[in-house]
């Protein structure tokens, strides 16, 4: 019983602050706009660093909006935020390793296997 009271008190405390529906509609509209922009990157046939830069920019903005607002990360305690958002950073180490590995594989293929068909 005490536990139930504690729980409902905590729930009331946590969820007393609910963002207005308007905020979700604004984020939704932004996600639409950003998705349209990323689609236009392809439609307008941007190439090279401009293309990759814009794709990454729109991707990160969309991901940030989804995590912060839709997943309520902006209202969580810092200890949870860091526990969830920091570990994926090690993926960048893996990314670096695999870029190195891919370049090496490509080099060996070009140097030893690539014969004109």
């Amino acid at each position: 019983m005490a536990q139930a009271n504690d729980h409902s008190a905590r729930a009331a405390h946590d969820h007393g602050h609910q963002p207005p529906i308007r905020l979700y509609l604004v984020v939704w509209a932004w996600l639409f706009v950003l998705s349209t922009f990323s689609y236009l990157v392809d439609y307008l046939q941007f190439q090279g660093y401009l293309r990759w830069g814009l794709i990454l920019l729109f991707m990160l903005l969309k991901a940030g909006l989804i995590i912060a607002i839709f997943m309520h990360m902006a209202w969580e305690r810092l200890s949870l935020i860091y526990a969830i958002l920091l570990p994926p950073a090690v993926v960048f180490v893996f990314l670096g390793i695999m870029i190195f590995e891919s370049n090496y594989t490509l080099f060996t293929r070009l140097a030893f296997f690539a014969t004109a068909p």
């Binding site: 305690r77 570990p87 891919s102």
Partner: protein, 240 residues
């Protein structure tokens, strides 16, 4: 009682500075994630592990694409649809993206109404979310059918590097599976909300425990994550 007073005092003390709050949370006894239910913490940790799975998929895709000597098929052309008498690049993928984003929006609003104890609106919004999710899976099935008919296989395709097929089927297949399971979870939780399980304290079939409206938020976390993964797949697989 005294103990919870102390705990509350610790929580209150940890408010002022950012770093102090992290240190006190992680250094405290009993629980690190204060004011976060175990269900929500576990969902976040599951999503973290899922992040690593999709990261590995996308990294393996990057590796085969970077290391192949054969040109990579042009996604813009591969995923074009012939509509209104001309080829529109990536149009189906764009529609799928908008559908999934819309479903995320309706889900976020469902969570909001759940905490306002508005059962009717919560259940309806969750059903709309599930419907949009099902539409997404349907479009994906259409896309798979089209590509398979055009000769795409995990080991070959008519346009270039054979790895295109294997990475495509693996990444979109795994994501589509996630969406499918999400739809099932949404329907189950929507039914509970509709029936008023979280108000009457009705016990769950599998857990024998009574749930509460936070279940809607936890289901929402999973659903938003599926949308989040699609953001990365859209950027790296379809646009790059």
């Amino acid at each position: 009682m005294a103990r919870s007073d102390i705990a509350d005092a610790t929580v209150a003390d940890s408010r002022p500075t950012r770093w102090r709050s992290i240190v006190t949370d992680w250094a405290s006894d009993q629980r690190t994630f204060k004011q976060v239910s175990w269900g929500k913490a576990m969902m976040w940790i599951f999503l973290l592990s899922d992040t690593f799975i999709f990261s590995c998929f996308l990294l393996s895709y990057m590796t085969v694409r970077m290391s192949t000597t054969v040109p990579w098929p042009e996604p813009s052309q591969v995923f074009a649809l012939h509509l209104f008498g001309r080829n529109i690049p990536l149009i189906l993928i764009a529609i799928m993206t908008f559908v999934l984003i819309t479903s995320s929006g309706t889900m976020a609003m469902a969570v909001n109404f759940a905490y306002r104890r508005d059962r009717r609106k919560t259940a309806i919004l969750m059903l709309v979310t599930a419907l949009l999710g099902a539409a997404f899976v349907g479009m994906q099935a259409f896309e798979w059918t089209k590509l398979i008919e055009e000769g795409v296989r995990p080991w070959e395709n008519p346009w270039g590097a054979p790895q295109f097929g294997s990475t495509f089927f693996m990444i979109t297949g795994f994501h589509g599976t996630h969406v499918t399971f999400g739809v099932i979870f949404l329907l189950i939780v929507a039914r509970k909300v509709w029936r008023g399980d979280f108000d009457t304290g009705r016990r769950g079939y599998f857990t024998s425990r009574s749930g509460n409206y936070e279940t809607v938020e936890i289901t929402g976390l999973y659903w938003h994550f599926v949308d989040l993964v699609w953001v990365f797949i859209f950027a790296f697989f379809y646009l790059w």
